[in-house]
């Protein structure tokens, strides 16, 4: 049965013209899983915010940071982005936990970099190690990623770099999409479901902090990927997306009212550098739908 599902998932990626990766597992029965290249590393884009929020939660547990403490993010120092504080023009004062919420729910780049500045890459690596996510490597936040991107493209500004990416004929040649490039944040779908399992089983941090992470992930605003596959009022879909030009990802958990729950990670990379590609979003939804149906 799984063999057939794997082929159907592969077909749905081919149909959308994307390279696809998937791993899904039943959290209530870990023996059931399904994968399409689940152990191949992919550049993570904003999915890196998942291990970051886990590291933040562990820091709160260790008493090294007060989640309710207010911080002020000055506009001039904030990382750019289209959502959340990154998109605003005035100084914003916010608690660390709400910054984490903005980072997870709307993929706020400014909140992510502010958090990474206090959490540090060392704690993120430590969190990954503690969860056995050995194929995931986090080496930078958004700010450094953009700096690297501009350098790799030989551009002078981010806008110029993005236009350059859109003009190249082979995305595979770009360092920013190459998982072998040590300057990129990379991970595998299997590592993502492993992290999600730890969060949903209260193993990633204290049960209070794991509940916090589940809560902010359930506030995910983008509904065109995993959520689109399960449009039922009594089914809760929590997730973290990642989007950068050709990359479209989401890692999340689908919970049914009877207690069945499934961790699903889908990573895609399109071969064309179009910023808006509904077919790829729809392929993520369809692949997740097929995977969960096969596991039920």
């Amino acid at each position: 049965m799984n063999e057939n599902t794997v082929q159907r998932i592969q077909r749905c990626f081919d149909d959308a013209g994307v390279f696809g990766h998937l791993h899904a597992t039943a959290l209530h029965d870990r023996r059931r899983e399904i994968g399409v290249l689940p152990d191949e590393q992919v550049v993570l884009a904003s999915v890196f915010k998942l291990p970051l929020v886990i590291a933040f939660a562990q820091m709160v547990d260790a008493g090294e940071i007060d989640a309710a403490e207010q911080t002020t993010l000055d506009a001039s120092e904030r990382s750019p982005g289209p959502t959340g504080f990154a998109a605003m023009v005035d100084p914003v004062t916010v608690s660390w936990r709400d910054a984490a919420r903005s980072m997870m729910a709307v993929s706020d780049n400014a909140a992510a970099d502010a958090l990474l500045d206090v959490v540090g890459l060392g704690r993120v690596s430590g969190a990954l190690d503690s969860l056995g996510a050995r194929s995931t490597r986090i080496v930078s936040g958004i700010r450094d990623f953009y700096t690297t991107l501009v350098e790799d493209c030989g551009s002078t500004s981010l806008g110029e770099a993005i236009r350059y990416i859109q003009s190249v004929t082979s995305l595979a040649d770009l360092a920013s999409f190459d998982p072998a490039n040590p300057r990129n944040n990379v991970g595998t779908c299997r590592d993502m479901t492993r992290m999600l399992e730890a969060v949903w089983r209260d193993r990633a941090a204290s049960s209070e902090q794991c509940a916090f992470i589940r809560g902010v992930m359930a506030q995910q605003v983008w509904a065109q990927r995993l959520s689109a596959a399960f449009p039922f009022d009594d089914v809760v879909v929590s997730g973290k997306t990642g989007t950068f030009v050709a990359l479209r990802h989401e890692a999340g958990v689908v919970e049914y009212p009877n207690g069945e729950s499934y961790a699903v990670a889908v990573f895609t990379m399109s071969t064309r550098a179009r910023l808006i590609l509904p077919a790829a979003d729809a392929a993520i939804a369809q692949a997740a739908k097929l995977a969960v149906a096969a596991l039920r």
């Binding site: 990626f13 081919d14 149909d15 959308a16 013209g17 994307v18 390279f19 884009a45 904003s46 750019p80 982005g81 289209p82 959502t83 990154a86 998109a87 993929s107 780049n109 958004i142 500004s157 981010l158 806008g159 110029e160 993005i162 236009r163 350059y164 859109q166 003009s167 004929t169 082979s170 595979a172 983008w222 997306t241 990642g242 989007t243 950068f244 030009v245 399109s270 071969t271 064309r272 910023l275 808006i276 077919a279």
Partner: protein, 322 residues
Amino acid sequence: MDLVRHLEYFTTVARERHFGRAAQRLGIRQPPLSQGLKRLETELGLHLCERDSRGVTLTEAGHALLPAAHRVLDEVEQLRLLARRQEEPARTRITVRIAPGLGSNHYAALVAACHRVAPDADVDVTEQPTTDQLGDLHSSRADIGVLREPAVARGLTLGPQVGVVLNCLLPAAHPAAQPTAETSYVRLRDLTGHHLVLPPRHQAPAAYDDVVATCERHGFLPESIDDVGDERLVRGLVASGTHVSFTTDSPGSGNGESVVVPIENEPLTLLLRLAWRGELRDPIEGLPSAIVGALLRRDDADTSLRPAHTPRAVSELPRTTT
């Protein structure tokens, strides 16, 4: 007994349905033909055909065995071909597979380019959908593939990308097809009210979706979209006046009932990508650039993408204004 020869008698008689004509075709007289068939029937312990005044009819057993007889003879023919090839000085065989969508003029230039690059090789150029090409490139059944983008190709060497502009195939009665038309091109929105004929979606699903999206983007929502693979049927549907289609044929190359007209600002492109496995060796290392040259021979093709647009912010991309 000579089974192969007797099977040849059998298949010839089955085809001609007449002993005299079959004997003539085989270049023998009738008696040895009848004798040979009888021996085959004895050998197989079956009656294969009945002779009557009007000719020959196959028995049920004859019908049942005929396909197998053809297969045996095909294999024997293959064997002989292979044997001949062993004797002849080795000729390189170049296999090029091309995604559907190009016109005969492209193919002519392309085959000529292959012959120029490797004059001593047998050149085999065939059309094949992208997904099938990927399999053949991986298994080395093809040397070079010309894939339709977006092609999801793993483990292959990707060569240059070539964009061949698509023109519109219009009914002759369409205002933009008139010799007296104010402009020499048609806008996609001017196609409103027509049905759109496209090559079957399964041949290149993502490319198909891109074409439909581009039509919508430029104000053309077709009455319906019909998937048709046969070029003559496409021409027929367009000639009927209700349908339009897209083609790589040059403007003006219509047949009177359907006319090829350029589309304003060339929004549609047949985007192709050369690919092969590993590294190309002599004599075909120069083939990719020769193929690109052949496809670019006409001035309506280019190797660059459309000029970049100001990106629209989505998800993690900051909005940039310059």
